[in-house]
Symmetry: D2
Subunit: 308 residues, 4 copies
Amino acid sequence: MRGFRTDLAMESISGHGLRMEGVQVRTHHLNDITHTRIRILNERAADLLGRKRGQYVTVEYPGLPRCDTARRQVLSRLVAQAVRSMLPPQGDVLVVGLGNRNVTADALGTRVVERMLVTRHLRQTVAGELRGKLRGVSAIAPGVLGLTGIETAELCRGLVGHVRPTAVIAIDALAAYESERICTTVQITDTGIEPGSGVGNHRLGLTRDTLGVKVIAVGVPMVVYASTIARDAMARLIDAYGIYASGHDEAAQELLRQVADGFLGDMVVTPREIDELVLSVAGLLSDGINQALQSAVDEETLHTFARA
Amino acid sequence: MRGFRTDLAMESISGHGLRMEGVQVRTHHLNDITHTRIRILNERAADLLGRKRGQYVTVEYPGLPRCDTARRQVLSRLVAQAVRSMLPPQGDVLVVGLGNRNVTADALGTRVVERMLVTRHLRQTVAGELRGKLRGVSAIAPGVLGLTGIETAELCRGLVGHVRPTAVIAIDALAAYESERICTTVQITDTGIEPGSGVGNHRLGLTRDTLGVKVIAVGVPMVVYASTIARDAMARLIDAYGIYASGHDEAAQELLRQVADGFLGDMVVTPREIDELVLSVAGLLSDGINQALQSAVDEETLHTFARA
Amino acid sequence: MRGFRTDLAMESISGHGLRMEGVQVRTHHLNDITHTRIRILNERAADLLGRKRGQYVTVEYPGLPRCDTARRQVLSRLVAQAVRSMLPPQGDVLVVGLGNRNVTADALGTRVVERMLVTRHLRQTVAGELRGKLRGVSAIAPGVLGLTGIETAELCRGLVGHVRPTAVIAIDALAAYESERICTTVQITDTGIEPGSGVGNHRLGLTRDTLGVKVIAVGVPMVVYASTIARDAMARLIDAYGIYASGHDEAAQELLRQVADGFLGDMVVTPREIDELVLSVAGLLSDGINQALQSAVDEETLHTFARA
Amino acid sequence: MRGFRTDLAMESISGHGLRMEGVQVRTHHLNDITHTRIRILNERAADLLGRKRGQYVTVEYPGLPRCDTARRQVLSRLVAQAVRSMLPPQGDVLVVGLGNRNVTADALGTRVVERMLVTRHLRQTVAGELRGKLRGVSAIAPGVLGLTGIETAELCRGLVGHVRPTAVIAIDALAAYESERICTTVQITDTGIEPGSGVGNHRLGLTRDTLGVKVIAVGVPMVVYASTIARDAMARLIDAYGIYASGHDEAAQELLRQVADGFLGDMVVTPREIDELVLSVAGLLSDGINQALQSAVDEETLHTFARA
């Protein structure tokens, strides 16, 4: 009953036992917020988990999209911390919003890019307290292949060659296995975007290999695939009645394949209120990333500046 | 394994055998378009099916949201015909768009209302060929209870008292049982909107009883509930392995209840591209309803007028 | 050279001398924020100024749409204070957003209504610290005559009869004479909405006379009419060269009439970035009005609740 | 009284006399549609007019944004014809939507790009009647400098290097001198986009010089600058009263400078209903450009395909 689709490393490792060799997991709790840092240390572990070697930080809070100002500040600082720990200390950064702005559940990247404090063009002209403190940031949400005719990865490679950042931050809407994770878990990783991941199923990846610079990926699950729900329902039934034991698993797989290929393939599961959840999550991510990028500027100034 | 949620009469009657007493079904095929007229004739049939007495016309076409101009015209004429057959021959009509405009899958009603040819205020002033031919139409998308603090049904009752239409046409996004029906089936019924129906779960119904005039409801499935997908997956497994026969059904129901109550309750399944599908379907419905309301005006004039 | 169009009482009285009989003006400065309370005390003054008897509070700050968090709080509290001073101490309130949501400069009312803390339907069910403290609020943005076929004033009269509030708060986008006032001045008045006012030119007014309850109007200039710009340019030229003295004024008026009737009639002047300015101003107004309505609840709780 | 700002060649030549040397003008009337082809043939004429050498085709129709289906077809064909006459016969084309999608009057380019038939990525996979007939088209609306930190011209140069089109089509919202031209005039030119032009004031141009391939610019006036309205009003007054003759012109210029610099600089004049006009005009332009690009495909197939 394998084959659930997920873009979260945290879900990939669950079920593999806590102490898998080559994987390091550290979890902290701040009241009801959970902070986890996973390190996949060698290729063997990477292969087993189907995830690339590197770090994956997860910040989880069940009420994330609707929390109060104080908790929002804690969450955005945790995001900032994780991003900052992966960023090169100096140099320009290009922020890329992946996904399709016209598809609500896939628009997270675009919504974050809209809220970025973009500075590359005004470092020379900015006055007052910000002068000399701003890191050069550019940002783009180029749109998906179906709308542009150009692979996002190709397009970004061209931009990196031109803008010459020391790192790329890529923002993407993810698919999870557990529907409770939708809009409640932020994943920050230094491994970039893997091919086939994301709500929009990027055909090519965005990684150091394809772009030539470090790629930090920030993502939040926005959907669960409908086929995952169907698989999961079947799995629970099988567990409960021991069909597995009696060798029915293969046949169940076949059944599911029919179901999923037939009509569930393109369908996604989201909360009904996904439209407003996306905006809320985008606000939190952009606050965190803006803080990480402009660590010499205080939060209030950033906030005012970003709104202006 | 009952309890699938659907707002389509067509799905309620399926599985009850073709010749249920008190139910009349007539189906026509126009190439790949299917037109079905269901009449529920007595209370006994109504109770059995959990649907009100009255007529339900269904227009189905698998490629509906993306069809060519010619087929679009056929489909909008079929919608027009069904609506016209239920409308009183004369008198003003109030069109009400139900649902939440900020929730993509629930915004169908709003999007249709935006495209209505509204004439109540200009019958006196309109010039030329339209003069004397226009039926009085008003239209509103009042918004959902959570955003207004007022039940839609209450609000409509107030409006009906004021505008004094001879009929109300209510547009709503529906939930279906089969995901293939999303954006491919139009239901037109003279029974109004039932309480608890629609993507937004209207708490009160909009019917002749509550509004005092005939209510024609036009709807298209926009979602399947995630719990329906889970139930359906379990049901297929059960069918395949005969768990039902061995009395496990009750336990399976219990399992599902846990799953659904736990976290699937609010979740809906939609195609990823739901944002653009809504606009396409809204265009087709408004074309059809505008034709039905202004049957003295030719299609081209209507189209131009509606766009102006 | 009279006849400039403005919806601001403050602009109507300027030029009439500071001490007009029957008009009381009190101005306070809080750093760079200006707070003015105008009272028009008798019919004679009302006729002279072309404004209704009553109170007009104006809060002005040149950087209003882009101010920092601290100043934003000051401004929203001043709005709250003015609204609260005009509200009946108890009873439900209906908030009405005027204008056309599809016209950026006219969408202010809609955008404010979207951010209102609506409570009428949940006073019984709300838990915890809010229990018993919430004032009943309902809110609607009904849309303009051209889209609904129903006069906003008629529609509101119906709603008032149903919801039975003790007051209505009407939000509207205004037209000003001076373009510096766009998005920088808030007017709060207990005289309601006058016929012909607003960006959308409401045909009927919303006042105690038409609705039967007190109507508090909150508005911000979003446009200057293009004909006002043209008139103003001519006026400045005339002032500078003394054409007026030589009796050319009448002819200039005629010239302007030709220009304005010809093509400027429908045209409005706005800042290029009006789309985002509207959102910013709507946020400030809704914060202020939510505070005024729920004065038993602290700001942070309100903010969290309004976002949930 | 010079210095009116316009992006239309047609307005630049008016007032210079019909038979200026080095300028060729041909006008045709199709009922109430006017089609004009202007050729600026030498540098002297180019300098005098402040426009680049090349061709400028203008299609004018007063009712353009609200015309009926038949006239819409005529207009989109005229646009198609003009674009086709400037396109290289073969090779890929990159369509670039200029302007800021969040500023209604500046979003024309983005709205056109959203409706482009993008084919670069699917020429190999497309089936049936389209196979082998599609020209490779890619399209992007990269966003303005203030939002990306990257000059649009720089960004396009990078893309051209990567995509290797034989021509670029750039779509932009223009500023006009006469407000009657807003949304009623389409300009197609083979001279590209000039620096400082457009509603968004592009800092760099998009021309063969900067991009290395032919650049066809398609634009429609969406605004008139408020300072143009003020200047124009003054000019009319001056004409009427002969101030000019008496040497007051210089002083009037000074007066205007004060006015415009003071507060009108950023202000633009638009029709109130600009939001919907933009969508209508974008539909017409994209129909025309899609036809020009895919001249081997019939209109109906194009239309269906573009909507799918």
